[in-house]
C-alpha cells in the first residue's frame, strides 16, 4: 500500500523520467553512428569515440559534484560565520570578495590556475568551486538572516546552546534557501564544467571543444545536448528536493 503510493509519487517526478532518458541515451550512444551519419552525411566520423559518453558524463558529474561540495562547505561556513556575533562585521567584506570572485571570467580563472595546479581536473575544480561559492553563500546567508528574531529569542531563552541552536533551529529553517543557492551553483557548474576540458579535464566539454577545433558540428551537438539534458535533470531534481523540505 505504502510502497504503491511511493511508486506513484515517484512516477510523477520529471527528474526521474529525465534521468531515465539520460541513461537510455548513454546506453544507446555507441550504436548511434548510423543516426549521426544520416544527419551529417559529409562527416567521415560522425560520432565522438575518443572516450565513451558514459565515461564523459561520469567525469563531468564528478567535477560538478566535487566542486559544488567544496563550494557548499566554504559558502555555508562563511554564511554561518558572518551571522554569528563575532563575525557580523565581516559580512560586507565576505560578500564583496565572493562577488569579485564571480566577476572573473571562468576561462581566466582556468588560465591563472594552470601554472599553479597543472593540467587536468585540479584547475577545473578550483575554478568551478570558486564560481559556486557566491550563490551558495548568498542563499545560506539569506536563510540564516531570515530566521525570525522571535524564534531565535525563544530558542536562546529556553536554553538552547549556540551550537545546538544552529544545528536544530537555524540550519533547518535556512535549508530551503541553502538548497536554492546550491541549485543555481550546480546548474551554473554543469554548464561551466565543459570549459574544464580546455585545460585537460575530462568532461562533456571534450567533444564540444574537439568539434569546434576540428569543425565537426556533430561532436558539438553530442556534447552540448548531453550537457543541457544533465542541467535540466539536475534542476528538476533540486525542484523535487526543495518541495520535499518545504515546510508544510
Amino acid at each position: 500500500m505504502n510502497a504503491e503510493r511511493l511508486t506513484r509519487c515517484a512516477l510523477r517526478q520529471p527528474a526521474l523520467w529525465l534521468a531515465a532518458l539520460l541513461a537510455f541515451l548513454l546506453a544507446a550512444a555507441p550504436f548511434s553512428t548510423p543516426l549521426f551519419a544520416l544527419l551529417f552525411p559529409e562527416d567521415p566520423r560522425p560520432l565522438y569515440t575518443r572516450a565513451s559518453f558514459f565515461a564523459l558524463t561520469l567525469a563531468h558529474c564528478e567535477l560538478v559534484a566535487v566542486s559544488s561540495l567544496i563550494a557548499a562547505i566554504i559558502g555555508v561556513g562563511l554564511a554561518i560565520f558572518v551571522t554569528r556575533d563575532s563575525g557580523r562585521d565581516f559580512r560586507p567584506l565576505v560578500s564583496a570578495v565572493a562577488a569579485v570572485g564571480q566577476t572573473f571570467p571562468p576561462v581566466a580563472v582556468l588560465a591563472l590556475s594552470v601554472p599553479l595546479l597543472g593540467y587536468g581536473a585540479a584547475p577545473a575544480l578550483a575554478a568551478l568551486s570558486l564560481y559556486a561559492i557566491l550563490p551558495i553563500l548568498e542563499g545560506a546567508f539569506t536563510g540564516l538572516a531570515n530566521v525570525p528574531s522571535g524564534v531565535r529569542d525563544a530558542a536562546q531563552g529556553v536554553g538552547f546552546a549556540p551550537g545546538i541552536m544552529l544545528l536544530e533551529i537555524e540550519l533547518p529553517l535556512a535549508l530551503p534557501f541553502i538548497l536554492a543557492g546550491l541549485r543555481s551553483a550546480v546548474i551554473i557548474n554543469i554548464g561551466t564544467a565543459a570549459i574544464g576540458s580546455s585545460v585537460g579535464a575530462l568532461s562533456l566539454g571534450s567533444p564540444i571543444l574537439e568539434g569546434l577545433s576540428a569543425s565537426n558540428p556533430a561532436y558539438v551537438l553530442q556534447g552540448g545536448f548531453l550537457v543541457a539534458l544533465l542541467a535540466v535533470t539536475a534542476d528538476r531534481g533540486f525542484a523535487a528536493l526543495e518541495a520535499a523540505v518545504r515546510p508544510r
Partner: protein, 312 residues
Amino acid sequence: MIELDGVAKFFGPTVAVENVSLNVAAGDFCVLLGPSGCGKSTVLRMVNAMIAPDRGRIVIGGVDIATLDPIKLRRGVGYCIQSVGLFPHWTVERNIAAVPRLLGWSRPRIAARMAEVVAAMQIDKALLPRYPRELSGGQQQRIGVARALAADPDIILMDEPFAALDPISRAALQDEMRRLHEVSGKTFLFVTHDINEALRLATRIVVMNKGRVAQAGTPADILMRPVDEFVRGFLGRDELPLRLLDLVEIRDRIAPLSHRPSTTAIGGNATLRAALNMMLDHHVSRLAVADETGRIVGEIGLADIVAGGAPQ
C-alpha cells in the same frame, strides 16, 4: 525567590534600567507594568541571563545568577514570549517537549510529562502532530505557555505573551494563567503594558517608568494610592474608581436578603464590576447573590457597590 539588588543596564549612552531593586516572593504573580521602552523587558531578560546587568546583583533561590551557567539557568526556568517564538519546523508536540529534550530526559519521562502539560493547558490532542502555522494565534500561544511549563520549572518568565491576541483568546489565556498560578504555586514574572491584564493576573504589580521602578505593591495598593502623576496617568486617571471594582468580590459587600428579593442572581465570587454590569444590563438596582451551589445567600444593591471602602 527572585531578588534584584540595585540592578542597572546601559545600552551605549542610553539607560535601559537604572537602580532597580525588587523582591519577588515564591508563589507571587509579579507583573512588571509600564509603557514600551520603560525597561521592563530588559529586567526580564536579565533575570533569564540573556542580558548581563552592568551593575547590581540578581539572586534566584539564594544563588547569584552571575555564578551560574546561563544555559543551565535558562533550562531551569520557563520562558514564554509572543506566539512568534514557536519553532515553525517542529510539530506542536516537539515544540512543547523542547526543554525536556535539551535536559536529556528519557522518552517515557517526556511522554508522561507531555500528557500532564497537555491536560493542564487543555490542549486538544489532535493538534500535537500539527505545525504551528496551522494553528490560530490563541492556540499557538497556549502551546507557547505549555512549552514554558514542560520541564516543570519553579519560575516562569513571560514577556508580553498575549499582546498580539484577540480579546477573547487573551481573556481565555489570562483565566488559564490565573488558574495555573493558583493550582501550581509557581512564581511568575510577567511583563505587560496592559493595565487590565496586570490587574487580572497580578498578586504584585511593579510599575516601571524610564528604567526605574515608579511604584511596587499589591494591585489594591497601587490603585488606591498611586505615588505620582505618572502612575496615576498610567492607571487611567479618571477610571481609577471603576478599576477598583475589579478587585473586590461581591461576597465582601453582601447584604442580608430583603423581603422582596431580586429575580436576577449573580455568583458571590464575581467582582463588583460584574455586578454593576449585570445591573446596567437588566435595568435593576439589586441582585440576588448565589453561592457555589447556586443557593441564594443574600443580595447586593447599587448602594453597597458605591459605598466603597478598601478591598482586603
